[in-house]
């Protein structure tokens, strides 16, 4: 693992990709509970990562 701030930008981009992919998964799931509910849980954790990683990435950019 590396806590080098120069990695923040790359991590932020990955977090954005995960978010987009989960939204895509949700849309393809067509509302079926197994996709809908698990996608919601992933997005909650993505939100935490945005707070902890994407926010400092924006500020230090």
């Amino acid at each position: 693992m590396n806590a080098d701030p120069s990695n923040l930008k790359e991590m932020k981009a990955t977090i954005d990709q995960i978010e987009q992919l989960v939204h895509k998964l949700k849309a393809s799931g067509g509302g079926i509970p197994v996709v809908e509910k698990n996608a919601r849980i992933i997005l909650s954790v993505v939100n935490v990562l945005k707070f902890g990683i994407s926010d400092p990435a924006d500020i230090l950019d």
């Binding site: 849980i41 997005l43 909650s44 939100n47 935490v48 707070f51 902890g52 990683i53 924006d58 500020i59």
Partner: protein, 440 residues
């Protein structure tokens, strides 16, 4: 990853220069306010003339109105939708957890958590536990049934997220809990200070030395933890004992690092202001006491903008040997609700606890009552010694205690030494101070 970075749960956030932390907090404050205006009936009217984008500095933040527990009660009493009234920030169907305040000062406030808001709270607690040295190898015992009270739920799920083994100890009596802690070889404990002392007393009665159980660290919640009580717990348990401060409504907003010299504000999760007690309009200077006003910047289900916690804290110096850059609280002096005037003197019960724990190790349990007798207020302090004492020793203790209390509080106490085991033992929060003047 270097050892230094392993000291942090999030090295990026925890070591950011202060001006960058404030930049993030202001950015998130604007977003949070916008969200609250758009999604929460309470703020829609209250903030209708305020443009979040115009908030550019901490001075701008201080111009906004405060909210307190009374406002939350009013926003809920008889007002829809559902249980949470006008303060709900998400659709009712998105609420996944119901919590409530303990109701010590009035009708309990119901607190709504969506799954997203709950994960945000758990993340705050991950910071708190990591900062206190909890790691994946720890076996964390929680000696309570958590019911609708939030702190130990947060601790449970955060410890689980860290990778600890969590052992919930509800539905056991105190002896059963001690046996279970011994059986699972618990290394960590989430506790109230009162119950930490009670557990130790019960273990001793069972012939078990508390320090032999193997607890290495304890994080306290639920009540004020004066420095002397913290040190007493450390000595009895042979463990590192950590304090934090928070509440059901805003979440835990400051905690201790392993230096154990004050509390770090959990920036940038919270924008915390420490305001002068008289006007609540001026940020106090380093070393000064003030009231903590907290805005949790990521909880959408229960938006709080500038929540007056009523916690009285002393603002600490910037910087800490641990390398974290967050603002420090050097002392939690008590609750504004507990401050009262007795014979014209401002009094806080925490001052008595601090004195007893620091200077009178022979005293175990205690209880204070203040009542109006004739035209004057009288305070009685009942104390229970840890061991049997002769009448002479008790008389000497009583005289010494009375003198020290007079110096410390400027008040005269009636001291009543009672037999060991007479005073009530508390299993969660203690109620050692009773102001009987209020009930008449």
């Amino acid at each position: 990853m270097s050892d230094r970075n392993k000291a942090y749960w999030n090295p990026f956030l925890e070591t950011l220069p202060r001006e960058k932390l404030i930049q993030i907090e202001l950015k998130n404050f604007r977003k949070y306010l916008q969200y609250a205006k758009e999604n929460c009936a309470y703020y829609r009217d209250r903030y209708k003339d305020i443009d979040p984008q115009e908030i550019r500095s901490l001075e701008d933040v201080r111009k906004l109105p405060l909210i307190d527990k009374k406002d939350l009660r009013l926003a809920q009493e008889g007002k829809g939708p559902g249980l949470f009234g006008e303060i709900l920030g998400v659709h009712q169907d998105e609420v996944t957890d119901f919590r409530q305040t303990s109701g010590t000062t009035g009708r309990p406030v119901y607190v709504a958590e969506s799954y997203e808001s709950w994960q945000w709270r758990v993340e705050v607690w991950c910071h708190l536990l990591w900062m206190a040295g909890f790691r994946e190898h720890d076996r964390v015992f929680v000696p309570f049934g958590y019911n609708v009270y939030v702190a130990f739920w947060e601790g449970h799920y955060a410890a689980e997220k860290l990778g600890c083994m969590v052992v919930p100890g509800g539905a056991l009596d105190t002896k059963g809990r001690i046996n279970k802690m011994t059986e699972v070889k618990a290394t960590g404990l989430l506790n109230t200070p009162t119950y930490g002392l009670h557990l130790a007393e019960t273990a001793s009665q069972m012939g078990i030395v508390p320090a032999d159980i193997g607890i290495e660290r304890m994080l306290c919640a639920g009540e004020p933890l004066p420095q002397a009580t913290r040190q007493r717990l450390e000595q009895i348990w042979g463990a590192e004992v950590y304090d934090h401060i928070g509440g059901t409504e805003p979440c835990a907003w400051a905690g201790m690092c392993q230096a154990r010299k004050g509390l770090h504000i959990m920036e940038p999760f919270f924008l915390v202001e420490v305001l002068d007690m008289e006007t609540l309009s001026r940020e106090v200077d380093e070393g000064e006491l003030g009231v903590a006003v907290v805005t949790p910047l990521g909880r959408h289900s229960f938006p709080l903008i500038r929540f007056n916690t009523n916690d009285i804290v002393r603002r600490g110096a910037d910087g800490c040997s641990c390398g974290r850059t967050s603002m420090m609280i050097s002392e939690v002096a008590g609750r504004a609700d507990d401050l009262c005037k007795i014979r014209g003197v401002l009094f806080t019960p925490v001052a008595v606890e601090e004195l007893l724990r620091r200077e009178f190790p022979e005293i175990g349990e205690f209880e204070m009552t203040v009542e109006c007798k004739g035209i004057t207020d009288e305070i009685t302090l009942k104390v229970e010694s840890c061991e049997e004492m002769s009448n002479d020793v008790m008389a000497e203790l009583s005289a010494r205690l009375s003198e020290r209390l007079k110096i410390k509080t400027n008040l005269r106490f009636n001291i009543d030494c009672v037999d060991t085991g007479v005073l009530e033992r508390y299993t969660l929060k203690s109620k050692r101070f009773k102001d009987l003047r209020k009930t008449k």
